[in-house]
Assembly symmetry: C2
Homo-oligomer: 390 residues x 2
């Protein structure tokens, strides 16, 4: 059996890895593998910090997927013999001003009522953990279980693991068309005119979905680009790390985070905007630089190494689109992971592979897939498109 996967971001590659492990021959097609939204992502595995109100389904997905990361990391490290970018440090949620702190305090109630662990710290305690935190912050919360992985290490590692034994491959081409034989999808056509035929086609293209022809049924998926500006900085050579833990904060209600890599890089992100503009917006970069310094004043001395913008694939209910399309056979869709693409990759990759393989679904998996059904926004949905709430 073989599968062609459209999109070599973290969604496509984790699915590819699961299919490859199951013995399939997998071809992943992407003009610039790993250089879409996955290239920008900070890689926070933050199921606790990113808990959202009135969205039990999303909470379940995030918690389940975060729990799968240690296994995925261990498995890849075993195959590859090197690390894949995982860093098991904690996360500090910082309120810059009293109202920001109160927002986190309210969130802590929700986190605890969801069975999550979050520890309120005094400013003194927080600064004992991270001395670079500003003494002017209003409050801090320590989340032991929120970690990080560097997508710029994870993605190449997945490609390496996938392609080592020669059975699967990554093709640096753009998919222009889905090939059809009536309702049956038979593969894809590439931008050089060549075709790849496959038993199953798995679509993980993110916002590039709109550029793929031959699949009018995909219009119901209703992805929209949610652009983000994101910066990368670096501790100057010879200087000690500025912070060791991920620092997530609110500054007058604006979210900002600093994610420190082991090599001295610090990712500073991220804006969210729906203006459709692919470039970095000056004001967005400015706000990130300002707010990062409010939380960690010593960020002023960092080297600013990169400015970048990418489009996350957003959906109307923030849940991914993972499942089949109405009236189309041999096709699976797994995209629309929005701001949670890295966090949800292990779970999304496994479920996408299960759908391709026709694996019998457990009751929890079936419930997830009912919620993520790509048909839920079109008239032919098996369930109503209302939001799953508490």
């Amino acid at each position: 059996m073989n599968t062609v996967i459209v999109g070599a971001g973290v969604a496509g590659l984790t699915a590819a890895w699961n299919l490859h492990k199951a013995g399939q021959s997998v071809t992943v097609v992407d003009p610039t593998p790993g250089h879409g939204a996955s290239f920008a992502a900070a890689g926070m595995i933050a199921a606790v910090s990113e808990v959202v109100y009135q969205h039990e389904t999303m909470r379940g997905l995030m918690t389940a997927s975060a729990a799968m990361y240690p296994g995925l990391v261990a498995e890849l490290e075993e195959v590859l013999g090197h690390g894949v970018g995982f860093r098991g440090t904690e996360t500090l949620d910082i309120g810059a001003h009293p109202a920001d702190r109160d927002t986190f305090a309210d969130l802590a109630e929700l986190q605890r009522s969801s069975g999550m662990t979050v520890e309120r710290l005094t400013v003194r305690e927080a600064r004992r953990l991270e001395p670079a935190l500003s003494p002017t912050i209003a409050g801090a919360f320590l989340v032991h279980d929120d970690h990080q992985i560097d997508p710029r290490v994870l993605v190449p590692s997945l490609i390496e693991a996938l392609t080592t034994d020669g059975r699967s491959s990554v093709v640096h081409r753009r998919v222009t068309d889905v090939l059809r034989d009536g309702t049956a999808v038979t593969g894809v056509r590439l931008d050089d005119g060549s075709e790849i035929l496959a038993d199953t086609t798995l679509l993980c293209p993110g916002v590039a979905l709109a550029g793929i022809n031959g699949l009018p049924e995909a219009e119901g998926v209703r992805l929209r680009p949610v652009h983000g500006d994101i910066l990368r900085a670096r501790v100057r050579p010879g200087r000690p790390p500025l912070i060791d833990r991920t620092v997530r904060g609110l500054v007058d209600g604006r979210p900002v985070y600093l994610v420190p890599r082991t090599d001295g890089e610090i990712v500073i992100g991220a804006t969210e905007r729906e203006d459709g503009f692919d470039g970095v917006v000056l004001e967005g970069a400015y706000q990130l630089l300002r707010d990062a310094q409010v939380l960690v004043p010593g960020a002023a001395d960092l080297e600013l190494t990169e400015i970048l913008a990418r489009a996350r694939p957003g959906t109307p209910d923030d849940l991914p689109c993972l499942g089949h399309l109405a009236g189309v056979d041999n096709l699976v869709v797994s995209t629309g992971y929005s701001r949670h693409g890295i966090l949800l990759a292990p779970l999304g990759g496994r479920l996408a592979a299960d759908l391709v393989l026709g694996t019998a679904l457990s009751a929890p998996d079936a419930a997830i897939l009912a919620a993520t059904d790509p048909r839920r926004f079109s008239g032919d949905s098996p369930r109503s498109p209302e939001r799953t709430t508490l």
Copy 2:
């Protein structure tokens, strides 16, 4: 006769162009032509706005060189048949706050006493010229005679003009050594071990001077790197220009400028720091973004396209080092142009060529070269190293 020139920045290339026009065969050596300080420079030809107190010599150099630009531009355009990046728009000097305005008002006195023309505007008048200026600015001064040239167009144009007829060339190599025969310099050695022999060697390497061996006499030149962070932004596709004139401002005493190109690019610069760090400093980029928005709030919507840092070659008295070295024959130095490399290029290029060619000097040129003598900081100076003042 032939000359080898070390450094394909604007200083080396304008000298090369003058020598080439005089019939010489010129070889310019640079590992990355035009990618040093010239690559960062905004290219303001602002002899009026950059007037400095107590520095009559510098004022004379700047005024003389600015006056040479129209001729250089016309000559290159004639040879090449295309533009070379010159833009003859005016410059607005903007005081963000009352103290900033007063600084410009004081400067206007000096400018007028130096025979320069500067026109004080009301805020209303300034905003009639440039509606994107903030209504909160404290004052504005219009300088008709300060224009701009894009160094990223000028430098490739100079290379094109220089190399069109095959007599002169640009070699993409790094110079490791100056070759000597006693006191006579005979050429240079490159990083591939090859040698270029020449009647005269002209050094225009900027801060790279310190990396060239075989010339202990150059230690007296006393260049120091004055780093600058500089940003490039761009009007979003389909939108009208944000500003048409160069906007230079002071915001609480911090200088910032916005230089608009005809293609929609806006250069936002520049910091000055002497920390020796080659990367972009986060705080520097942040301050430029903040202060640019104070003057022109609509800058918030620009695309931020580039962050960059480069080292300007500074000298103790801010004057360039243009002349001979003590006890060394067949060698001319023309570097140390600090923040004024683009502005001073036409004059510096002509004088460097005159020194190479042994042209008889006019009295004004001789006076300039007495002030810019590279030996002035070492014991063997023909004149004392004191600053030329009013």
